[in-house]
Symmetry: D2
Subunit: 372 residues, 4 copies
């Protein structure tokens, strides 16, 4: 298994890259919300392929058909199923890969796991395309969270070694965050963005690829959510972020940099602001002992370079059991990080709604609308 997630919200993903369709069943959504489906569509488009020079030319509208869980424009509270039909599929590109697996892909491990019966076309169930239904789910969760004052923001912190400005974890600038969603590259520093775009283009011309880091924040999360030990916020959110294809690491607050800090520096000093407890800094990234502090929940995810590259590569031939060479054709992004930003945000939204639903904070509620 592996396609189900959640405690208070259950996500069940399905589909293969070049099968009839992909989709998701979301069980546990709160009843009564009027969703803004046009906003869901815009959210999904940020991830959809074929929109920018650096993304795969595969054209997929990624329009989701709602099969259940919505009545008269509102969430019913029963499972919401959504189906995204695959349209632009070219299975011919992939047939050879069962014999000569692509380096850096799940071709070999998937073959082992499913004893050779997995759908090999386009990576099948392992395809990055499965992030489309996750993004759809995140778009819906995100709208619901906004009715409770919770917002999620993400940006490209790094591509090919080029760094954007980091988020201010203690006092983020709302205007800066609001501007991110409309930018073609989600960066705070546009000059860094241009350098990133150039680096991606250079990789593409070299028939190669580059990786990067996405940084994101959940704003407005109340203090006191989460559980100790195995259900701390880092474990729960981390497990979801690490399930996004190509993610190689996740860190919270100061993250790996905390390893080089002294306690006197890393300890966030509690202070009184507006008669309530707050913190002067946010090295903890909004979580202490697995429980939310009320400060922004800050985390970062490292993405490896796209494994599908145009240049000829060494591999093995599983029929001859000899070493062999391979050129991957197909259509692939030289850097998936720009399209990964909404996926990371979506995963954070799914996590945050699951968390909020477990907190008993959705019992009141009623005729909210997600239209702005």
């Amino acid at each position: 298994m592996g396609s189900c997630w959640g405690q208070n919200l259950k996500l069940s993903l399905f589909g293969e890259s070049h099968g009839p369709g992909i989709g998701v069943v979301i069980d546990g959504l709160p009843p009564g919300m009027e969703l803004d489906f046009e906003a869901v569509r815009r959210y999904a488009l940020r991830r959809a392929p074929g929109r920018t020079p650096w993304s795969t030319p595969r054209k997929e509208a990624d329009e989701a058909e709602i099969l259940s869980g919505v009545y008269a424009g509102r969430l019913t509270g029963t499972p919401l199923a959504a189906l995204i039909r695959n349209t632009d599929t070219r299975s011919g590109d992939y047939r050879d890969l069962q014999v000569r697996p692509r380096p850096g892909h799940a071709d070999l491990t998937g073959r082992e796991r499913y004893r050779g019966f997995a759908d090999p076309r386009g990576g099948g169930h392992f395809s990055g395309r499965l992030t489309a239904p996750l993004t759809f789910a995140g778009a819906i969760c995100s709208q619901i969270l906004q009715t409770r004052g919770i917002r999620i923001a993400g940006h490209i912190l790094e591509i090919a070694g080029i760094r954007d400005l980091p988020f201010n974890p203690a006092q983020p600038d709302p205007d800066q965050l609001a501007a991110l969603a409309d930018k073609p590259l989600a960066v705070l520093d546009d000059a860094a963005g241009q350098a990133m775009a150039a680096a991606v283009e250079a990789a593409r011309l070299a028939a190669d690829s580059v990786g990067g880091i996405v940084e994101a924040m959940i704003l407005g999360l109340p203090a006191g959510l989460g559980d100790p030990i195995f259900e701390g916020l880092e474990s729960r959110l981390g497990s979801l972020i690490l399930s996004i294809p190509a993610v190689r690491g996740v860190e919270f607050g100061a993250g790996f940099a905390a390893a080089g800090m002294r306690g006197s520096e890393h300890n966030d000093v509690p202070v009184i602001r507006n008669q309530a407890v707050s913190y002067r800094t946010n090295y903890s990234g909004g979580v202490l002992g697995g429980i939310s502090t009320g400060m922004p929940l800050v985390f970062r995810a490292a993405f490896k370079p796209t494994p599908s590259i145009g240049q000829e590569q060494q591999t093995v031939n599983l029929e001859t059991m000899q070493e062999d060479r391979l050129t991957v054709h197909g259509r692939h992004d030289p850097c998936i990080v720009p399209r990964a930003v909404p996926v990371v945000e979506a995963a954070a939204a799914v996590f945050a709604l699951d968390l909020m639903l477990g907190s008993g904070l959705f019992t009141a509620g009623g005729r909210e609308s997600c239209h702005e």
Copy 2:
């Protein structure tokens, strides 16, 4: 909740730092193994406090009493419950902390989460002491794994910015790994170890603390284990590692460094070795698409500096709702990284046994003995 973990093996941790005791119930262990309880004891001692100059002087034998699940020296297959009594408790040290919470601790978040009713003594259920039953569970899982040729090795990769040599992820040296468990500081490069010890001592003298990084490997894991998407190995192991107190990040294979690599560099080239598929390099850290490749599963965990430091710190007074100052007395490690190595290994062992049990590879089995 938050104190249960596992799919095929269920761990249920309980206890508070200064209550009657701490412990664990482990459900799902395979029946029939003859455990080496002396080895379990040695394993636990590597984590136990009071053994080195840089660890808290709190003396706890951490002897676990087996309450169930073992009969005639062998695992029965029914739940194994173990109890570690708390003996050296000094509750007086902690009383004031309900009013003036310690910076960097869960005092404030735990108070919010449990509405003021959590046991405040020594961090209660949030105490690092809860890693003792986890380590006990890991010691048992580790022995069982060894009967299937699976071994776990960990070392201190970094303390206070001082780096040990990294593991060779593709072809680890068995002698080097075997030597680690007996060293007072688990490092490959003893000179680095001495520098680390000096840095820890310097922090202690400054009434401060330092953090670090633990690197670990699971060796011998068969290819083809794990599941796509939400139950990939990174998600499952990551969630467990992120549940260890003080961990701020986790990465697999090349990890965050992968973000700066090119695809042509990061893709591990498959090769034929002894008529079987292997890989020339191991940047993927033994996992592709969430499924094991058969190479060592390599990961790293970043630990923050111990939040309990001896110097006076700023905090808030929750009675006066004014800013205040606080000096934490108690007994604390200036660096928990050395004692964290067996904890990380234990978490990896719990994860790996849970994984193996789900793979159907323990159905045969029988009268194995964990004695060497």
Copy 3:
């Protein structure tokens, strides 16, 4: 939530009776089986409405479209999603029921649970129509089980107080069982079947309805499956059977009759048959201590009479908060027991495959075909 089930197999049901469609995602199916989709279709038809005089005249082909999880005619091992479009929907029949809830239905409780936002048309997600995707899942599980020698048989034990012959729990007659699937009414004693049909017709003419009991057996289950206490076979199968709409009770082996027996009578005597342990009788219904004995797993489910009846009934008016009267129009079975037989069998198949997958008995396998 409530639409997910399973440990080793995860079912996720979705849909509303009069929405775009209903369906199921099944995660965890073993890879490699070649399914006989024609047999799946025949299995589903046994449940489908509109086939007999005593079933609702609603016409639904109940054709399932496979969206994922099947490649080249074989199970891939990744999630299988199936969609059944609703075609013959008549929403006008149901609009009034939000004000005047139908006695014996979930109209009132669903309204309370979902705060008035659930799809009210045809019972929405509470409709018995949701048993169609469960039956589809059971048809697939049943085929897989047959490759392991496990078969499921069910019959109508009772309708309107008229009793069929009971199964012989210790030594069932294979020919008798084989004949059941092709009969219009699944009974062992055709005379009893005729009396049942007459009783159903009498109830229909009286604008009333009748209930009954389904008895089923799982044959070929190996001894030693299951777990003690909370995961005993009775708990696991029972929870699934009790989730079928209209089921009011479930019993195993001698069931409620065991309450009136003496120990010396109820204890099944172990005997040696063909050099193996067997039992002379099967009052335990194939399960002792929650674990399978190797004898047929025998159980019964009691179904209440269909709540939708044609005669005028008393109810409340939720607008006026006065007592009121109601005549349910729509299209309803005067007895759902005949169509419930394949649903009970399907639930048993889902349970049995989930159980077998957890036993490690599907690791071998490979190119099995479910074609006979």
Copy 4:
């Protein structure tokens, strides 16, 4: 596995009948309640052995030591672990049973399940003694529920075919219910109780045993709790009741009798009482579509006769693989139904608190006391 249960409350049971001890870890209890431990003790005593002529003469105080989760007399909200030491153990009684399994016991199935390594003494983990920690957990849950106006009542509906008066499911008499807990035999009709006691004594003298039925109600459950399909109240409570040793069936409301009713009779008519919706009858047993109606949740559990009987029985000899004879010595109840009443009530309390915790109704709360 099998020793864990719950969604919002996690129970983890451990222990063997003649090992060091048995116990439970309960995770998810609401923080802040002041428990009445004397009442917990009285509750447990109703189940404890050796108190009546018809119970096993094994003497166990069943005193639970609280290891965690309680501080200053109040629940902390972190896991509550409790340990009941086994004191009066006589292992010699059981040694032979590994060769000649007892009819009607889990000796053979447990042997198969655990490949011969389970603790054979007194049934080990399969012993009815494991209901002691479940009863302890139920005693605590019951107290918490009482602070929310929820009460549980149970009685012996039948022993050896002798019937008590049934509960009035629609309008139970509070005085009648209150009197039950103090009676030596929990019956409404004391004459029936005397006849039952005589029947038990007759069975004892015949070295035989008898079974029976326990009927119970949960009173005060709000309407609208539960989920459709797999998480309906019948599935959730049913799975827990079916996990009690010796239970062979469970039914809700009219139960199996519903199979013989007409829809016009079984449909509970909604009525207006005190400006709110209620029901004239309660054949549904307080649950429609898996969701609570607000009426008493009524259910019954059938218990088989105790399998341990004093008379010589036929069995098999697993060494010679010949049929053999066996006389079970040990100490056993000729009827476990009287002691099962508090166990059924405890299971209902665990279920009801798990349900309430998922409903968001415990977020307010605070300094409640469970002392009356």
